[in-house]
């Protein structure tokens, strides 16, 4: 049972529940204290030591049921069999064919199979094999154990991708000696023997069982791995290349990254101004000590939370990136409470209110719809200056996301410079590769002179790094 618990914890880890070795030890102690008899009690107890958040607890409960169900049902089944012996045993068999329900596989004395075995030595030896015995006698316990040990030999736990399911099913079947059964079926087919149907049924039951087993193990061991693999790929793909079907996954991923960043940067900002004594407080505290001022208190200033203005180009070429930047920024509400966002293509407008009124995805859709079009940086910058230049101060970070392709219009660099001088920092994120900055109608190189920092930003990894940096620099 202990090794079972350890492998269960392994499963939890692949499902993104972080469990440290110390917690594993705790889980062991919990299991010993509570005993294995009451399953619900054990589950609650383990949940308390292993899961740290309500979300993790949900994952834990799902995994626990999936993992321990199959094992414990091994022991439940024989009883069930005793109860239902008269009305013909377990569910898989019913699924295999109702027409055979009236045939009792246990007392197969008069079945065609025994008759066939009488004339055919091969079939006789097959019938005597452990595998066939457990199938014929409906000994699900032995069968499950056989599947389990076969799975162990072929290393099913190493399963990584869902495409491997078929391959592993085959391997397990081979390891269990299904080949003999298969060849017997072929032989009977050739002879057109009446025993064929029954033998086929056993074969199908076996295959079904193994398939189910592999499926369960896959869900336990590999689903997490597949997801991690997928997340990894997605975070490195150019955002506008991601296929539509994966978008919701990307959203999840962005939220996950945002949570990570938020917890990293959520510490309170406070700064002690050295050299300025808080006289009032020092004296007040001194009263308790006969007016002797033991403790000195220094004036503190609380640093203002940063203000962030995000200006996003939502014209066709860059819209996908703007979407994810906004998604990121708005997922960081906890650490970046003052985000104002602006969208532009030919003209610019503030879109913050959309994000207040609608969920992020919906808001982004509305923004794209309202402001999409051909790009004009000049007039958009003019609009921006009119709307927000007065609010830019030494506490403001301006993030501009765009490819700086201005369709050969007037770039209005002087406005950018105005922003540059007032703001604490100006970041320009460009989804284009650095090599093509300045080529064709790109004004990027000219705008660069009015930016504190510029970066290429076209996949989630880069985006995460930039936002991380942003959080660090705005502290």
């Amino acid at each position: 049972m202990q090794s079972n618990l350890v492998s269960f914890i392994q499963v939890l880890r692949t499902h993104d529940v972080r469990v440290s070795p110390a917690e594993t030890l705790d889980a062991m102690t919990v299991a010993t204290t509570l005993g294995y008899a009451d399953r619900k009690l054990l589950r609650d107890g383990l949940a308390m030591t292993l899961a740290k958040t309500p979300e993790e607890e949900a994952v834990f409960l799902a995994c626990f049921d999936r993992y321990f169900n199959q094992r414990l049902s091994d022991f439940a089944r024989p009883e069930q069999q005793v109860d239902t012996d008269s009305d013909e045993s377990s569910d898989a068999e019913e699924a295999a064919g109702d027409s055979y329900a009236d045939q009792s596989p246990a007392d197969g004395d008069n079945s065609p199979l025994t008759t066939a075995a009488a004339d055919n030595a091969e079939i006789a030896s097959l019938l005597n094999s452990d595998l066939m015995q457990s199938l014929v006698n409906n000994d699900r316990n032995a069968l499950t154990m056989a599947i389990g040990s076969a799975a162990e030999t072929v290393g099913l736990r190493q399963i990584q991708m869902f495409t491997q399911k078929g391959q592993y099913t085959r391997k397990i079947l081979d390891a269990m000696g299904e080949e003999q059964l298969r060849s017997a079926v072929i032989a009977l087919e050739r002879e057109d023997n009446p025993a064929l149907v029954e033998l086929q049924r056993y074969r199908d039951i076996l295959r079904e069982e193994v398939r189910n087993y592999v499926e369960r193990e896959y869900l336990l061991h590999a689903e997490g791995k597949t997801r991690q693999f997928m997340d990894d790929i997605l975070s490195k793909t150019r955002l506008n290349n991601i296929e539509h079907t994966y978008l919701h996954k990307v959203h999840e991923l962005v939220r996950k990254m945002a949570r990570k960043l938020a917890s990293r940067h959520s510490r309170k900002r406070r700064q002690v101004k050295r050299g300025q004594l808080n006289m009032a407080k020092t004296m007040r505290r001194g009263i308790a000590n006969d007016g002797v001022m033991f403790d000195t208190y220094w004036r503190q200033t609380r640093k203002e939370k940063p203000q962030i203005l995000a200006v996003c180009d939502v014209s066709g070429s860059v819209a996908a990136y703007a979407k994810f930047l906004l998604l990121f920024l708005y997922s960081l509400q906890d650490v970046l409470p003052k985000v104002r966002s602006f969208a532009f293509s030919s003209h610019l407008g503030e879109v913050s209110s959309y994000f207040d009124d609608y969920p992020v995805e919906k808001a982004i859709e509305l923004v794209n719809w309202k402001y999409g079009g051909a790009t004009d940086y000049g007039s958009s910058l003019q609009d921006f200056a009119r709307l927000a230049l007065d609010d830019i101060n030494s506490n403001t970070t301006v993030i501009i996301l765009g490819d700086a392709r201005n369709n050969n219009g007037d770039p209005k660099l002087e406005i950018m410079q105005g922003i540059y001088q007032r703001a604490r920092q100006v970041l320009w994120l460009n989804p284009e590769s650095r090599k093509v900055w300045g080529s064709g109608d790109s004004e990027m190189l000219r705008y660069l002179s009015a930016c504190h920092f510029s970066a290429e930003c076209n996949n989630l990894k880069q985006l995460e790094r930039i936002v991380d940096q942003l959080l660090k620099s705005t502290r």
Binding site: R18, S20, A22, E23, D26, T29, V30, T33, L34, K40, L41, D44, G45, A47, M48, T49, A51, K52, T53, P54, E57, S263, S266, R267, K268, A288, N289, D290, V292, F294, D334
Partner: protein, 310 residues
């Protein structure tokens, strides 16, 4: 703490029954957490929406075990002087003043500075000893002879740094005081930490605790809670009011009514001598359940539909 010291905690069922006798109706999960916390000597981190009985759990455990409850309310800026210990500066000052004269006698006959210092050394650190230590809640909990229930309330309100301060106490039940050394708990206290989840607690702290999430209770459980807290409410009204509160929780509210609000509401309905819920009554007492004007308006609009559900 040994098992035989507290037969009340010998099994999960016993804890459940014990709590019930003190009017705290809890789910098996909660009882399991208390049982494990006692067996493994681990603190419990209790999370959940406000008003589901997180603080009450600690209080009831203290009553059940007949141990003192020592409570530390966390807030922004809480530091070790208020949570752990402080030196009694006044007393130290006074003593130095008084003992000044004694010094003369003591050093009488000493030849030269070296010998005087030598003599002074014989007295050790009188002023930095436990006599001059003012224990604050955490240290106090360590000093209890029979053990104590330590409730660290709303840990999420405290600063990040304060969490690190707790780590030593929570894992080893000891406190290090630079001037004295390490003080170990006489009997390790049972620790409850509560959090409203206004911010994430650090992993290091979480790792040291059992994690208990108390959600809003099921209808049956809540009815039993109301029964035990406000026994005079008759069965029909009790059922109706719990049902109504449950349907309120389905709405998108700023703050959903918790158990404490349900109990308050049951009490107020009792005072109004009402036998069953009707629209007028609910409308006039809605402010007991909901604490935000927006919420009350939202619920008001849905009132008829909600009442018809029951």
């Amino acid at each position: 703490m040994q098992i035989d010291d507290f037969p009340q905690l010998a099994s999960v069922q016993q804890i459940e029954q014990g709590f019930e006798s003190f009017g705290y109706i809890c789910s098996t999960k909660i009882a399991t957490a208390v049982f494990l916390a006692f067996q493994l000597r681990k603190p419990i981190l209790v999370e959940g929406p406000p008003g589901v009985g997180k603080t009450e759990l600690a209080k009831t455990t203290a009553e059940l075990l007949d141990l003192p409850l020592i409570r530390l309310q966390c807030y922004e800026g809480l530091d070790e002087a208020k949570a752990l210990y402080e030196w009694k500066y006044g007393k130290q000052l006074l003593y130095t003043q008084v003992l000044k004269e004694k010094l003369g006698d003591l050093l009488k006959g000493a030849k030269g500075l070296a010998e005087s210092v030598e003599r002074l050394h014989q007295f050790g650190d009188i002023f930095y000893s436990e006599d001059f230590l003012e224990p604050r809640p955490l240290l106090k909990a360590m000093q209890q002879e029979r053990g104590a229930i330590l409730l660290i309330d709303e840990i999420d309100k405290s600063d990040y740094e304060f969490e690190s301060l707790l780590l030593e106490i929570l894992s080893d039940y000891q406190i290090s005081i630079p001037e004295i050394g390490t003080i170990k708990a006489r009997t390790s206290p049972m620790v409850f930490l509560t959090s409203n989840n206004t911010r994430d607690i650090s992993d290091a702290l979480k790792r040291r605790c059992l994690h208990l999430y108390i959600p809003f209770p099921t209808v049956e459980l809540e009815e039993r809670i109301v029964l035990s807290r406000v026994p005079d409410v008759d069965a029909l009204l009790r059922h109706q009011l719990v049902q109504f509160v449950h349907s309120l929780r389905q709405l998108d509210l700023k703050k959903s009514p918790a158990i404490s609000e349900t109990i308050d509401w049951a009490r107020s309905l009792l005072l109004l001598h009402s036998g069953q819920l009707d629209e007028e009554l609910v409308r006039s007492t809605l402010n007991v359940l909901l604490k935000f004007e927006d919420d009350i308006e939202a619920a008001d609009a849905e009132l008829r539909a909600l009442l018809n559900q029951n």
